[in-house]
């Protein structure tokens, strides 16, 4: 294990994915200039080289790690860079930069800490750090996007969204907390009438989470993140305890909270009304949603082709509405395949969780996958009007430095967990 072993499957898949992305860049160049501009291939070149390098790094430092996970996210990240470049060249280059940085972060996570389970020792520190980040953002954050809410933190032109880091910290904290308390949560009961509920002291984190998500919702108008956190927590507590009462009661409490917020805060009300009827507000607040839907319709089944549609008619198309751009240019066929890649990743991650021997690692792997899955569901559901629109990035595909970094770190943790399993199996 300490030797150097090339990860052939991974390398082969990365080459395949790299060829797809490079092909996409070639098509884009031809669509835009009517011939292939060689200089346009520099960026996919950098991208392919960086993924190969990371695979080589892993053949030294994570020999046994799963070989299918990284090629899948690399391909999605590549398609993301491609589509963002098509929408805004400068932004595409920045996304490439963030992706490479994300790969570096992933490489670092693979070597430090030595064991994933070390992380559980500092669980309250992670939770505290997370809460601190939120507090700092609310107090001293910056409103980069002009949304009217301070969701960024940083200085000198580099801004990060703490929410992205927070989701990893919370996943680690929940995994550690649940692994320690799950027996108690699962078994201990207090009888209230016909319903048996767990003792209230163990419900504290549930209440804290509920409060946190509502805080995010109200103070930051960030319903997406609120839903995401609640979702991660409920998924993890379900995995840990197998008791449906937790997710069900949590969801009910959240719905109650949203209902309350609907009556107390106008922006929540506006958002709900917008979801139910964007049509009568087509030139106002509903413009974005409807233009997003039109782009999807224009894409149809086969798509308009890379660089051949007009997705830039959709506002904030590079982040929240990247799905509309993908839908317009790659069509239902392309988007369905990307969703297929995402669900494959989630399933692969969950099978890592199943194989993991350690309770903390199991919960963490499941929590990380739940994060990706819920995030996808929230934004795809929002774009397609299956649920109210809340701005969260589509994992690996939307533009966003913080999001890319966080996702790569999450995959780093997953790979580390998977690498531990095979080690023990041998």
């Amino acid at each position: 294990m300490r030797g150097y072993r090339l990860r052939w499957t991974e390398l082969a898949l990365l080459t395949f994915g790299g060829a797809i992305v490079t092909g996409g860049f070639s098509l884009l160049s031809m669509a835009q200039h009517r011939h292939l501009l060689q200089s346009d291939l520099r960026y996919p070149g950098i991208y392919v080289a960086s993924t190969i390098l990371l695979s080589l790094w892993m053949s030294k430092f994570a020999t046994r790690a799963d070989q299918l996970v990284f090629p899948v996210i690399a391909l999605m990240a590549g398609v993301g860079i491609l589509v963002i470049t098509r929408l805004d060249v400068a932004l595409g280059h920045r996304q490439l930069f963030w992706t490479v940085l994300g790969e570096v972060a992933l490489a670092l996570v693979l070597v430090f800490p030595r064991r994933v389970s070390t992380l559980r020792l500092y669980k309250y520190s992670w939770a505290f750090l997370g809460l601190l980040l939120i507090a700092a953002t609310i107090v001293a954050g910056t409103d980069v996007s002009g949304s009217g809410y301070k969701r960024w933190i940083g200085f000198h032109g580099v801004y990060l969204q703490p929410v992205e880091l927070l989701k990893i910290l919370m996943a680690i904290f929940f995994a550690a907390y649940l692994d320690e308390k799950r027996e108690l949560l699962a078994s201990a009961r207090i009888q209230i009438g016909p319903i048996r509920v767990p003792p209230f002291q163990y419900l504290a984190p549930l209440v804290v989470m509920w409060g946190l998500s509502l805080l995010l919702l109200v103070k930051q108008n960030d319903l997406g993140s609120a839903l995401l956190f609640l979702g991660i927590f409920l998924a993890m507590i379900y995995v840990g305890t197998a008791r449906a009462i937790y997710p069900v009661s949590g969801l009910l409490m959240f719905v109650a909270g949203v209902f309350l917020a609907f009556h107390l805060f106008s922006h929540v009300r506006t958002r709900t009304e917008l979801w139910l009827d964007p049509w009568s507000r087509a030139s106002g607040t509903g413009y974005q949603v409807i233009q997003g839907l039109i782009a999807l319709g224009v894409g149809g089944v086969g798509g308009q082709g890379l660089g051949q549609g007009h997705p830039n008619f959709v506002p904030v198309v590079t982040t929240d509405f990247i799905l509309s751009a993908l839908g317009e240019e790659l069509g239902l066929a392309g988007v369905a395949c990307l969703l297929g890649l995402l669900i494959f990743l989630v399933f692969r991650g969950l099978s890592v969780a199943i194989s993991a021997q350690d309770g903390f690692e199991k919960l963490l792997a499941a929590g990380l996958m739940a994060t990706l899955a819920i995030q996808t569901i929230v934004i795809v559901g929002g774009t397609t009007r299956l649920m109210p629109l809340t701005g969260v990035p589509l994992p690996f595909l939307s533009y966003g430095g913080s999001s890319v970094l966080a996702n790569f770190v999450m995959i780093g943790l997953l790979l580390k967990i998977s690498s531990g399993i095979t080690e023990r199996r041998d």
Binding site: T9, L13, G23, G305
Partner: protein, 143 residues
């Protein structure tokens, strides 16, 4: 072929390639499962359904796949590892001979029972039977 034709073909090829990638993943997954089952022995057409997990960490209702020869015991070298104080290091084996099932005790301390009766010598077993290793109870079920 005009640039437009190339773009149209490329457009189709791009999406097709994405699907081929997904297909490649599926094929690799299948190969991996096959390799794993080769390493672990041939899969036999039956499962053990957990009825009473004891201290094993298994869960009631969980199905444990049986191989052509499945060793049961506390030692991690066994095919089914039962981490329970009443289980011996090598506790019992379940065999599939192509037609039927045979249950044999491997000289365990706390014994193996089939439908409540102690298994001293290898005995035939059929789906629906209840098998007990120490305090852990399974039901034999068909795949």
């Amino acid at each position: 072929m005009s640039v437009d034709d190339i773009l149209l073909l490329g457009r189709v090829a791009f999406v097709v390639a994405l699907y081929l990638f997904l297909l490649a993943l599926a094929l690799l997954l299948r190969r991996e499962l096959r390799v794993r089952s080769l390493v672990q022995g041939e899969r036999a057409p039956g499962d053990l359904l957990v009825m009473e997990p004891g201290e094993s960490g298994l869960e009631a209702g969980e199905r444990i796949p049986l191989l052509s020869t499945t060793s049961v015991g506390r030692d991690s070298a066994n095919d089914i590892v039962l981490d329970d104080t009443f289980i011996s290091a090598a506790h019992a084996t379940v065999k599939w001979n192509g037609k039927g099932w045979v249950l044999a005790d491997s000289g365990s301390t706390n014994g193996t029972r089939l439908n409540g009766k102690d298994v001293r010598r290898p005995v035939a077993m059929k789906p629906g039977d209840v098998v007990e290793f120490g305090q852990i109870k399974f039901k034999m079920v068909e795949l």
